[in-house]
């Protein structure tokens, strides 16, 4: 996984609550899709199929975004990880939201995409700064110092658990971390085979 330390990029505002993964990446019927093209594929287009010039990601100043700024419960709905891969493919490595849906936040961490949850007291002012900047001046997200700097105001501190922070900064392989516990997994299986043996077999009794 690509480590995340700092990121300087254009911040694009998409200030709605409850944006779901069907909106982020409509279900895709190609096994190897162009993920960048799928990002907000429906919302980007008008009814006649042409690009909606008012959709933030279609506006010239937001063509190469690095940071997405959005509302509450971002990424609710389906567990599809493509809704994170499409961000990465577009160059977005950080999402600043009022809150995230549980599975989406996990999928971000698995892919080196930093999910920043704003403190409620900071959200409105920061969103206003992003709108005012209008893509003209970039913002910098520093995970080492846990702060966001940029036009229109002072540096903004954000919270993240030390564990999630370390995982992103070091770009740790999640499976590798868990495999350090392989002996405990084996011991658990052996114990469970004694106490709840029906959980350690899934045999078809007809075969």
């Amino acid at each position: 996984m690509q480590p995340f330390t700092t990121l300087t990029g254009v911040a694009v505002p998409l200030l709605q609550d409850d944006i779901n993964t069907d909106q982020i990446t409509p279900i895709n019927r190609n096994i190897n899709p162009d993920w960048a093209a799928l990002l907000f594929a429906n919302a980007r287009k008008l009814a006649d199929g042409s690009a909606d010039p008012d959709f933030p990601l279609n506006r010239p100043q937001f063509r190469t975004p690095g940071i997405l700024v959005t509302g509450r419960n971002f990424g609710c709905g389906s567990s599809r990880e493509g809704a994170v891969w499409a961000m990465i493919a577009t160059g977005i490595r950080c999402i600043v939201a009022r809150s995230f849906a549980d599975i989406y936040r996990e999928n971000c961490l698995q892919n080196g995409l930093l999910p920043v949850e704003l403190r409620p007291a900071d959200a409105q002012a920061f969103e206003a700064r992003v709108v005012a900047a209008d893509g003209a001046t970039p913002f910098t997200v520093d995970l080492q110092t846990q702060s966001i700097s940029g036009p229109g105001g002072p540096d903004l501190a954000f919270e993240i658990t030390p564990a999630d922070r370390m995982r992103l900064i070091e770009g740790l392989d999640d499976i590798g971390l868990t495999l350090k516990h392989a002996p405990e997994i084996a011991a658990w299986e052996e114990r469970m085979a004694g106490t709840q043996p029906w959980l350690q077999t899934a045999a078809d009794s007809r075969r």
Binding site: Q16, G77, S79, E81, I103, Q110, P162, M166, H181
Partner: protein, 469 residues
């Protein structure tokens, strides 16, 4: 210390605490599908990692499959690469596959319970947010992403932060034609689509105890629409009776031992929940969504709400939803003309769902101009329904009767509506564009969906069957 049902299952499955503080929870049953697993199979092969427990892992084809009678790989050319990648990955890793032509193929959340793969007190993972469905049997389930799926394949554990506990107590006796789906929609309306975020939800109370297993599966299916990754109902004699003799359930003496253990799983009397919600459903009428998220719900006799009546923060979302749905504030929901009706999905595609719909349809005909579909949740359900003659009831009334799969719930197989169509659907998400670009989805129970197909408009099923509508 007093424990909840959730705590008991979680603690029994806690293998270790990782250096980063995450808890490794053992997964007893892992079910994969063709939309997401091929990518994980590829990454696993690249990393030269093996599947730790192929014997506890199953593959099912259901997201992209055609619903056309007599389907094969070529019926839906776009799904072929997914089906093939699933076959290759499953064979390479020694995982049993329920393929497109398997007599027990179907939606994971229908198949895993009906075969007895998931059990009370077991943990379960599927790369599908509706994994929570099987909580209806008292199993703790986690919908997960593709990286997590790969992680479980390699390690048989999932690395999680312990969620908080929430209990939803549903009291009262449900009236005729009022179902678990109506209860679930009302709960989402009360709690909100993010109200369960960070929680595991236990459904309890007299109304839940009185529910069949299929109804409990429907109830838990919609836990994710509250934002909760897991939903649970404590197992009881109804559960044990339903599971007994199913092919993957324990047999003989192991069955006796298992039931004895399962009886200990209920939440302790004085167990603490971080959040508790109580809902009396004695007077509940059939529910329907009017908007574009599953909390935007009214009774079928109700009116479309006015954005002016909600807090300012919500008003913009309300207006946007009204605009997408082609509705104006204050208009009654009943009477809205319907273009399409879909009965199916992991929410409402089991035998009792189809029976409830058929009871409304029998002796009647789909209204002119309405496209109506029934897609059973599994090939087993389809066979049972055909043995009971339900396919004939639906077909005689003008419904399409399909092969099992997700179909129009998410449109991953190409079953979709046309822009602007109003679709009354027994599925779980009324999101913009979910059933096709511009399609206006209203979520309801199977009985209410069947009534809409017959009337050609949204109608109170109780009035339709009594002749008052």
């Amino acid at each position: 210390m007093a424990q909840t049902l959730f705590d008991k299952i979680w603690d029994a499955h806690l293998v270790a605490r990782r250096a980063d503080g995450r808890e490794l929870i053992y997964i007893d049953r892992h079910v994969l599908h063709e939309l997401h697993a091929p990518h994980a199979f590829k990454k696993l092969a690249q990393a030269q990692r093996a599947v730790r427990r192929p014997d506890l892992t199953f593959s099912v084809q259901y997201h992209t499959v055609s619903t056309q009678p007599g389907r094969d790989d070529l019926t839906n050319a776009q799904s072929t690469p997914f089906l093939q990648a699933m076959r290759d990955g499953s064979a390479r890793n020694g995982i049993r596959l329920f393929d497109i032509d398997d007599p027990e193929q179907g939606i994971s959340h229908v198949v895993a319970p009906e075969l007895g793969m998931v059990l009370p007190g077991a943990t379960h993972a599927v790369p599908d947010s509706h994994a929570c469905t099987v909580g209806g049997l008292g199993a703790l389930a986690f919908g997960c992403g593709t990286s997590e799926l790969e992680h479980i394949l390699a390690t048989q554990v999932i690395a999680l932060k312990r969620p908080k506990r929430m209990r939803v107590r549903v009291e009262g006796t449900l009236g005729p034609h009022v179902t678990a789906k109506d209860v679930a929609l009302r709960v989402i309306a009360e709690v909100g689509i993010a109200g369960g975020r960070g929680h595991a939800v236990e459904y309890a109370g007299a109304a839940v105890r009185a529910m069949s297993i299929e109804s409990r599966l429907t109830l838990c299916n919609l836990a994710i629409e509250l934002g909760a990754r897991s939903g649970l109902v404590a197992p009881d004699d109804v559960t044990f009776g339903w599971l007994a003799g199913r092919p993957f359930a324990p047999q003989g003496r192991q069955w006796e031992a298992a039931v004895a253990h399962w009886r200990t799983l209920a939440s302790d009397e004085d167990a603490q929940f971080e959040r508790e919600v109580v809902l009396d459903c004695a007077e509940l009428e059939p529910q329907i969504t009017w908007g574009t998220d599953p909390s935007q719900v009214v009774g079928v006799g109700g009116r479309v709400p006015d954005p002016a009546s909600v807090e300012p923060g919500q008003a913009a979302a309300f207006r946007r939803a009204l605009d997408y749905m082609g509705l104006t504030p204050g208009m009654p929901v009943a009477g809205l003309p319907v273009d399409r009706v879909f009965i199916g999905s992991c929410t409402n595609s089991r035998m009792p769902d189809l029976e409830a719909a058929a009871a409304v349809v029998r002796g009647r005909h789909v209204a002119a101009g309405v496209v109506a579909m029934v897609v059973p949740g599994s090939s087993s359900v389809k066979r049972q329904a055909e043995a009971a003659g339900l396919d004939k009831v639906f077909r005689a009334a003008g419904f399409f009767w399909g092969e099992s799969g997700c179909s129009m719930c998410a449109g991953g197989n190409g079953d979709r509506g046309e822009p602007g169509e109003r679709c009354v659907s027994t599925t779980n998400r009324n999101f913009e564009g979910r059933q096709g670009k511009g399609v206006r989805t209203h979520l309801v129970s199977p009985a209410t969906a069947a009534a809409a197909a017959i009337a050609g408009r949204i109608v109170d099923v109780r009035k339709l069957v009594s002749g008052a509508a």
